[in-house]
């Protein structure tokens, strides 16, 4: 005999389809990241020079009349039209400004975030030097602020004994110890005439930009007791390290760094 059972259909709520929430925090670009500065003329509002970037109320086509400062690897944009996203200000077509921007999209054209735009009659070379200096100093200032010790000196010896690696990853830093003869202490309480620090000899993607030393290098050394980054590699908290690409500066940066202290 077949059995027949009956149940209520609606025993629970339906599974609703959740879909595609937008999560876009407002852009917070420090002025020091305005790596592309140019004189330009707004040619069209609500326009985009990239197929992949939809035109909107905040996109403008801007002709690059003159490049004031450019970093990175993209092509010279002089005479070309780029897309400027200006979320915080309206730009009138025909307006000419010095555009301080951060490029973010690269295709057949370039799209940039506007950091600020100003009218500036100074020669472009002057503005360019200022931008370059500000960018460099801005980045260096951050390193100076973070450094526990800053000293001037010369590397006297490299201990090529490789570190005892506790883990095995392609990204091990291949740490070496450098001995540094200190000629001047710029920051931190350091009385020894000679100190040792670890640097990364690895050319792995994560370390190839770290300064490398072979002995005899003279300059400014920004040292840290770094660090979480080296914990996996068995480095204790009291060991001095020099890992960031900006943490070794040539001697002619001495006054600049003093100015940043």
């Amino acid at each position: 005999m077949e059995r027949k059972l009956t149940i209520p259909l609606f025993v629970a709520s339906l599974v609703l389809l959740a879909h595609c929430a937008t999560e876009r925090p407002p852009s917070q670009i420090p002025a020091s990241e305005a790596t592309f500065v140019f004189r330009g003329s707004v040619s069209e509002a609500q326009s985009s020079t990239l197929e992949q970037l939809e035109a909107s109320d905040v996109t403008y086509a801007v002709v690059v009349d003159e490049v004031v400062h450019q970093e990175g690897t993209f092509d010279d944009q002089t005479g070309r039209t780029v897309t400027v996203i200006a979320a915080d200000r309206k730009l009138e077509p025909g307006g000419s400004f010095v555009f301080y921007t951060e490029p973010f999209m690269f295709g057949t054209s370039v799209a940039v975030h506007l950091v600020r735009a100003s009218s500036d009659d100074r020669p472009s070379a002057v503005i360019g030097e200022e931008v370059k200096r500000d960018l460099e100093n801005g980045r260096l200032r951050e390193r100076v602020r973070e450094a526990e010790f800053i000293v001037a000196g010369v590397v006297t010896h490299i201990d090529t004994t490789r570190e005892r690696v506790r883990i095995e990853s392609e990204h091990v830093p291949d740490l070496r110890q450098a001995s540094l003869k200190v000629s001047e202490v710029l920051k931190g309480d350091l009385s020894a005439e000679e100190v040792a620090f670890l640097f990364a000899a690895s050319i792995d993607i994560q370390w190839y930009q770290s300064p490398k030393f072979t002995g005899g290098e003279e300059g400014i050394f920004l040292l840290n007791r770094d660090s979480d980054r080296l914990k996996p590699f068995g480095v204790g908290g009291q060991t001095l390290t020099l890992l960031h690409p900006l943490d070794f500066q040539p001697p002619d940066k001495l006054e600049t760094i003093k100015g940043l202290l």
């Binding site: 149940i7 339906l14 599974v15 990241e33 973010f104 999209m105 392609e170 996996p232």
Partner: protein, 999 residues
């Protein structure tokens, strides 16, 4: 999931080499970056499953604008032809230290990265608007991690339908030595960080120090998740010794002991050794074509069969010395329990990547160092096998100098490359020397950056020379060009929102608004405002023929072709096997070169059997010489069985309509609508049906109820379970709704049912109620009544019901009927109808569909003379009678199930042979496979079934004696039924059922 291994292999062997394949290689550096000479190594790639033209790829490319707070991803919105870089990845130095990407079906991009400039600092990121400006959102950050490898999947069925499942393999040094781990979330799409991400340890043993960096995953749509990793057991100098380990979880990686569904027989611990005790080189110097050497692994699962999985790894075979690597590719067809010998052995090669496409073809990318220094070359190959790895077609994507440029950092070309399957095609990425020399790219190449192939030089935007460097390349291995890719839509929401031939298609309800439909006259009728066809239920034979229609699209214009259409039908419900709709030749549709779409103007004529219900499912398979269906065909099968092949969703050449649309009208009482649930498997199982009423249905029919006839029904949230169904068993599900709900006239409400296997919806059906005025609804009621009379007469051999059915033909040909006349017609036939049904019930001995009670309800309604009372009662009765007649009909056998019987027989014999081998069992098992494959390929018909069963009988009789089954009477019934496929199927099934109980 149990799978007939031999059958799977056989099917693969039948599947021929791709008829034509197009390889497109694209240098991904865009025009405005012509000046760059970075080392853009180590690529990964993903695509948007809902918009495959949208592809995201990655490489170690620094922020091209010189910024340090973000790093770029590569984005194409035209299928890989052109690319832009979009700085959306948070960074500490403008680059990443590792990066892999994946996009879910919900269009959300996920990335697993090591933060640039921050060593082993893993971040897991999310972005729903990745083509726009702005940084990705961080979901998780943790140090002491290596090589995050992200892959996502959004299930199309089960309780987590449409949720973004995110799996990130990572080597977690916070848990040394058991470092092989997943970071996993089963609902990562929108929740705030960490969005459900939690750590799962894959490693259950104690490796020597740690596991290796690559932890790779393969996700099957049914919830089977595999991972492979390299387990270290010893270390000496630059040589690492260890095991290649595969773990598996059959339920999305959830549960108390995830990833423990395959163990190694050596220690019964989770994680099967594909190979144990192999050596490989670990050397972080630029020792191999300027590249470093280390652990490499890849894994891919067949989307049509969760048990078929491929693994690749590198080692240094015994007897080989020096800094080198050999790739091995192996396959398991039983869920990772047993592994083949090498399908591929590639000496001097790294970066193996595997993927399996919708056809079950295996794609394989690797990078091989050839020649001798200083003239060594890096060759990047794509290979494809259409026969499970037996033979491989080889395409050299790049053959470039290995000695230049000098490395800026390591990895030189990458610790991995990228490969994904997309429908029938494969997409991949790799890094290589970018010298613009056609000889370096044997299958051609397209550059976006300025390149002079005459002088083999690169220039920047102002004509200045640019040094050769390492660039990322995208490639597409297209097995079917778009203008030859024909498809039938699985779903249509509107003229602009519909199935565009994606494989898999993106709506799990593929049986509701598809472009295959039935009409009762030979005209396709128009399409609705939503661009959907207007389907009609079929009519019984005396009422006339039915006509199957289909609308066929293709992805692009360009060539004239003729498309053949093959129509099939099955019962309304889930799991019922398909039979050919008719015996007439298959119709064709001619496409001129400029045609994108063709609709049949004349239908495929077919008729219902005299005992068949009009509640049917219609399917179509389209094919051309260049674009055949992906085998197996639907004939003798149901989507999802015997393997986890979704068939219709995966193959854009197949479409089905499995939807009962009924008229709701009148007042008082309720109407039950019925559908069949058939166990299409070859083993006893619980058949799981998830259901999803639409919003209006839920509001209108608060008191709607589900019923089952034929066995136990269990209830879970939004789910019913038909317990312990035997192979080939049918049960009936009914949906009961009140007739007097406040449904608007013309309004349609519906409930989608999903047959769910594991966590995957493999099949389903829809029951819909259209509110109609009584004079229209009454015609439908009469049609069902007339059909039942017709079927009842043919089932019982009584002529009077057939005659009365004929008498009703004029009335049911009209669109409307006077409600009073309707009541008269029902009333005048009622006494005889009641008598015939009573006799039938008495003969059957039970009333599983409570027809007696329903007859009483109708009698009371008829006594009122009120058509609004009569219609619900008559409709309710006749839906139940329709189900009862089908129930009786199928008890006498079902030719739709002949192939299932043979599959079942093959499986049973193989299982029994392990413990109780009897001479001839293997031969009969193979014979069973032969029939199944031949039947699906339409080279064998139901007529051949008798011959195959007859050839099996000798062994079946031996089994009966050996196992003391006492089934001589059944076997004699089989013998006497040879020549009558329907009764033979019933007798054959009865024996197999008995055999199944004893195995």
């Amino acid at each position: 999931m149990r799978t007939p291994v031999v059958l799977s292999v056989f099917l693969l062997m039948l599947h021929g080499i791709a008829s034509s394949q197009t390889i497109n290689v694209v240098n991904m550096i865009p025009a405005t970056l012509s000046n760059e000479s970075n080392q853009d190594s180590e690529t990964d790639v993903t695509y948007n499953p809902s918009n495959p033209d949208e592809i995201v790829a990655t490489a170690f490319t620094p922020n091209p604008g010189g910024g340090t707070t973000t790093a770029p991803v590569y984005i194409s919105q035209d299928g890989g032809a052109t690319w832009v870089l979009n700085n959306i990845v948070p960074s500490a130095n403008g680059n990443t230290g590792d990066i892999t990407v994946t996009i879910s079906r919900n269009g959300v991009l996920y990335a697993g990265i090591l933060r640039g400039g921050a060593s082993l600092d893993m971040r897991i990121l999310r972005d729903a608007t990745y083509t726009a400006a702005g940084a990705m959102t961080q979901l998780l950050g943790r140090t002491q991690e290596d090589q995050p490898y992200a892959r996502a999947y959004s299930p199309m069925g089960g309780p987590q339908r449409n949720n973004d499942h995110l799996y990130v393999g990572h080597n977690d040094f916070n848990n040394s030595p058991q470092t092989a781990s997943f970071e996993q979330s089963l609902d990562a799409e929108t929740a705030a960080a960490p969005a459900g991400l939690a750590t799962i340890r894959l490693e259950r043993r104690t490796p020597s120090g740690q596991d290796g960096p690559p932890i790779r995953q393969a996700i099957h749509p049914d919830g089977t998740v595999y991972a492979v990793y390299t387990q270290r057991t010893a270390s000496a100098g630059s040589i690492r010794t260890g095991n290649i380990v595969v773990v598996r979880d059959d339920d999305w990686g959830q549960g108390a002991t995830p990833y423990s569904d395959v163990t190694d027989p050596s220690d019964t611990i989770a994680g099967r050794f594909v190979v144990a005790g192999v050596n490989w080189v670990w050397n972080t110097g630029a020792v191999f074509g300027q590249e470093r050497l280390g652990d490499r692994a890849s894994i891919a699962v067949d989307p049509g069969d969760n048990q078929t999985v491929y693994v690749a790894w590198v080692d240094r075979p015994a007897g080989v010395t020096g800094n080198t690597a050999t790739i091995h590719v192996r396959r398991s067809t039983d869920g990772g329990n047993n592994w083949s010998a090498d399908l591929r052995t590639i000496n001097g090669a790294i970066n193996p990547q595997l993927a399996v496409n919708i056809r079950g073809d295996v794609g394989f990318v690797f990078q091989q160092l050839t020649g001798t220094a200083p003239n060594q070359r890096w060759q990047t190959h794509f290979q494809q096998s259409t026969n499970g790895g037996t033979t491989w077609a080889d395409f050299t994507l790049a053959n470039v100098p290995a000695g230049a440029p000098a490395p800026i950092f390591l990895p030189y070309i990458g610790d991995y490359a990228g490969l994904i399957a997309l429908g029938k095609d494969f997409y991949g990425t790799f890094a290589a020397n970018n010298t613009p020399n056609n000889a370096n790219f044997p299958n051609g190449v397209a550059y976006q950056r300025n390149a002079n192939f005459g002088t083999n030089t690169l220039t920047n935007g102002v004509g200045g020379a640019v040094a050769v460097s390492i660039d990322p390349f995208f490639f597409q291995a297209q097995n079917l060009v778009e203008n030859r890719d024909f498809y039938v839509r699985d779903w249509t929401d509107s003229a602009t929102d519909n199935d565009i031939g994606l494989e898999p298609s993106t709506d799990p309800v593929f049986y509701n608004t598809s472009d295959v439909w039935n009409r009762r006259t030979d005209a396709p009728a128009g399409f609705t405002a939503s661009d959907r066809p207007s389907s009609q239920d079929p009519q019984f034979s005396t009422a006339g023929s039915n006509f199957g229609f289909a609308r066929v699209h293709r992805k692009d214009t360009g060539v004239a072709e003729t498309v053949t259409l093959h129509f099939l039908k099955s019962e309304l419900g889930t799991g019922s096997n398909y039979v050919n709709a008719g015996a007439s030749p298959d119709p064709t549709l001619s496409f001129a070169a400029g045609d994108l779409v063709q609709t049949m103007t004349s239908g495929y004529e077919w008729m219902l059997n005299d005992t068949s219900s009009t509640h049917t499912c219609l399917a179509v398979e389209i094919s051309t010489s260049n674009d055949p269906i992906v085998p197996p065909g639907l004939l003798g099968r149901a989507p999802g069985w015997p393997t986890t092949d979704l068939m219709v969703i995966y193959d854009n050449n197949k479409a089905q309509r499995n939807m009962g649309v009924y008229s709701g009208s009148g007042e008082g009482g309720s109407i039950s609508y019925w559908a069949i649930a058939h166990n299409a498997a070859t083993f006893r199982r619980d058949l799981v049906l998830d259901y999803a009423p639409d919003e209006r249905f839920r509001r209108l029919f608060q008191e709607a109820r589900l019923q089952a006839v034929g066995g136990e029904l269990k209830r879970e949230q939004n789910r019913v379970i038909l317990s312990g169904m035997a192979p080939g068993e049918n049960r009936w599900i009914s949906l009961t709704v009140p007739a007097s709900a406040n449904q608007q006239e013309g309004e349609r409400v519906s409930v989608d049912f999903f047959e769910t296997v594991g966590r995957q919806a493999v099949n389903g059906f829809t029951l819909a109620v259209d509110r109609a005025p009584i004079d229209v609804a009454a015609v439908g009621g009469l049609r069902l009544f007339a059909t039942n009379l017709h079927r009842l007469g043919h089932l019982t051999g009584l002529q009077p019901p057939i005659d009365r059915s004929k008498d009703l033909l004029p009335a049911i040909q009209e669109e409307k009927i006077d409600p009073g006349k309707y009541v008269d017609l029902i009333g005048s036939n009622f006494p005889a109808y009641r008598e015939w049904l009573a006799e039938l019930l008495e003969k059957h001995g039970s009333d599983p569909f409570t027809i007696v009670n329903r007859l009483d309800v109708l009698k009371s309604a008829l006594d009122t003379g009120n058509p609004n009372r009569v219609y619900p009662a008559q409709s309710d009765l006749d839906h139940a009678v329709d189900a009862f007649l089908t129930y009786l009909d199928k008890r006498g056998g079902d030719v739709a199930d002949v192939a299932q019987n043979m599959r079942w027989q093959g499986d049973l014999l193989r299982t029994i042979a392990v413990r109780r081998p009897i001479a001839g069992m293997d031969e009969v098992a193979n014979l069973s496979d032969e029939f199944d494959v031949g039947y699906a390929a339409r080279s064998l018909t139901v007529i051949d079934y008798s011959r195959y069963v007859e050839n099996s009988l000798r062994v079946l009789r031996r089994l009966d004696a050996e196992m003391q089954l006492n089934q001589e009477e059944t076997l004699n019934r089989i013998q006497s039924s040879l020549g009558n496929p329907k009764t033979l199927q019933a007798a054959h099934r009865a024996f197999l059922l008995r055999l199944d109980r004893e195995r």
